[in-house]
Amino acid sequence: MLDAQPKRPEKVPNRAGVGFKAQHLDGILKDPDSIGWIEIHAENYMGDGGRPIAQLRHLREQFPVSCHGVGLSIGAEVPLDRDHLARLKKLVNWLEPGLFSEHLAWSTHDSHFLNDLLPVPYTHATVDRVVAHINQVQDTVGRQMLLENPSTYIAFEESDRSEIDFLREVSERSGCGLLLDVNNVFVSATNQNYSPQAYIDAFPTERVGELHLGGHEQDADDFGATLLIDSHSRPVVDPVWALYEYTLAKAGPCPTLIEWDNDIPEWDVLAREAARADQLLSAVPAAQAS
């Protein structure tokens, strides 16, 4: 059947997707099979109307969509912003995304929004706070959330558990899934001086619903140690592609996003990154143990 593609496809397939940018709309519509799905930043579609929302409505008819929040401030010491949560619920209700995710980070303090994904200490108190916030989000929005591992540049003296133990505990207690950003693993492992493969080995991949890939920049800290910056401004580097293959071998195929948010390239460049992820995905056996 030529007409088998359902309208408003919901389930995000085990294929490559891209973070949608308006300048890529024509490229995507000319070759819709080049990607399996798109991801949007929720906050960019919280206006009342106009072209952004019209474009998203149009794309939604053809593509499964993942809704990725960047402003909820799940890790904040202050309560979640109820107005923002209501906007998120409204967006999710009409968009009916196949996946819905947010970050293990905070960005709001004293009613100010600091527009970055800021780190949290890995302690019991933070677990309690993050679990309470995720419960509130999942109850309000009415669906499971995926929580993304952060890229970090600093550590907290008060942390008393690993990032993986922290994420596992939050996921088990709140029932949320996990979004495993492979570039973030590489960035954090380099910055925090641990093995990225060992991180993947220990990660509860059975709770992962989505993978992210992106580009980073390289700098150095005060002591000359390599400091990687999660910039989403470049192609995915080869060591991250290798770590992605390593992850797929353990976790099995999983929807994979190419993130490119700064110095955004022509569509062809991004489409090639998606094709590379698709190629690796298609080489993974569908059914994995556990």
Binding site: G71, S73, S107, D116, A155
Partner: protein
């Protein structure tokens, strides 16, 4: 609560020390590592300001703009994660910024840029057909009230704000004339349309938007300009697709 308070303060104030307990993986002071967060916050907000105010950037130059916006983002960090609406305090900030007092039109140009953004993201609305008013008996016409399109924006200024915007954003646009201009911004479908309207027309539209009937709006406009042309005002309403509902 102390940790994130300290962290937040230090992010926006380069003179503030790195918060206690923030270290590198060996337990040494985080130093430059903390600056990654400082840089991310400030640069992302400067980029948001550049996106919001392209004409202000052109008028004063990129370097000046980023220095000025750097002061602004530290004094007025966003209150909402909806960065598409960030910068609402920028016109007032410019009004109070004495080193730029010799460029007195900057604040109004910033108001115009904000109004354009509001219009761009305003709710969609379906206009009434162009002949909707011709089916109404003339005796009732003057008592009609309207719901106007949510995208409608009016920006009055003693400066030629529309021409300044055009001159900086449209290739081959003429030099701005030395005159006061009131901008009318509309959004039929998705593309913004901007034009200069006389103050009386602005008063007419403003009165209608507040829910006044056509006769009151006509009186308001006529008080400003005895020659106000009601027919032209009604044609503007219909041609700009501004009427979304007619209340009989």
């Amino acid at each position: 609560m102390a940790v994130q308070s300290q962290f937040a303060q230090a992010l926006l104030d380069p003179a503030h020390p790195v918060p206690d307990g923030v270290v590198d993986p060996s337990g040494r002071p985080a130093g430059k590592r903390f600056n990654v967060y400082r840089n991310n916050v400030v640069v992302s907000l400067l980029d948001a300001m550049e996106t919001a105010f392209p004409v202000i950037r052109k008028l004063i130059g990129t370097e000046n703009f980023r220095n000025l916006a750097g002061l602004y983002v530290r004094q007025h960090p966003p209150k909402s994660p909806l960065l598409m609406f960030y910068g609402t305090d920028f016109p007032a900030f410019l009004d109070g910024f004495t080193p730029l007092a010799h460029v007195p039109y900057l604040a109004d140009v910033a108001r115009l840029e904000l109004a354009r953004r509001s219009a761009y993201h305003a709710a969609d609305a379906t206009p009434v057909p162009a002949d909707a008013l011709s089916q109404i008996a003339p005796a009732r016409l003057m008592h009609l009230r309207f719901t106007l399109a949510p995208a409608l924006q009016i920006v009055p200024s003693p400066y030629p704000v529309v021409a300044l915007w055009d001159y900086n954003m449209t290739p081959d646009a003429p030099q701005p004339p030395a005159e006061a201009q009131t901008a009318l911004i509309t959004r039929p479908a998705f593309d913004l349309h901007m034009q200069v309207i006389p103050p009386a027309v602005a008063a007419f539209l403003g009165a209608l938007r507040q829910g006044n009937p056509l006769d009151t709006a006509f009186d308001t406009a006529s008080a400003l300009d005895g020659a106000f042309d009601l027919t032209a005002g009604i044609v503007l309403l219909l041609q700009s697709e501004l009427i979304v509902e007619i209340h009989l």
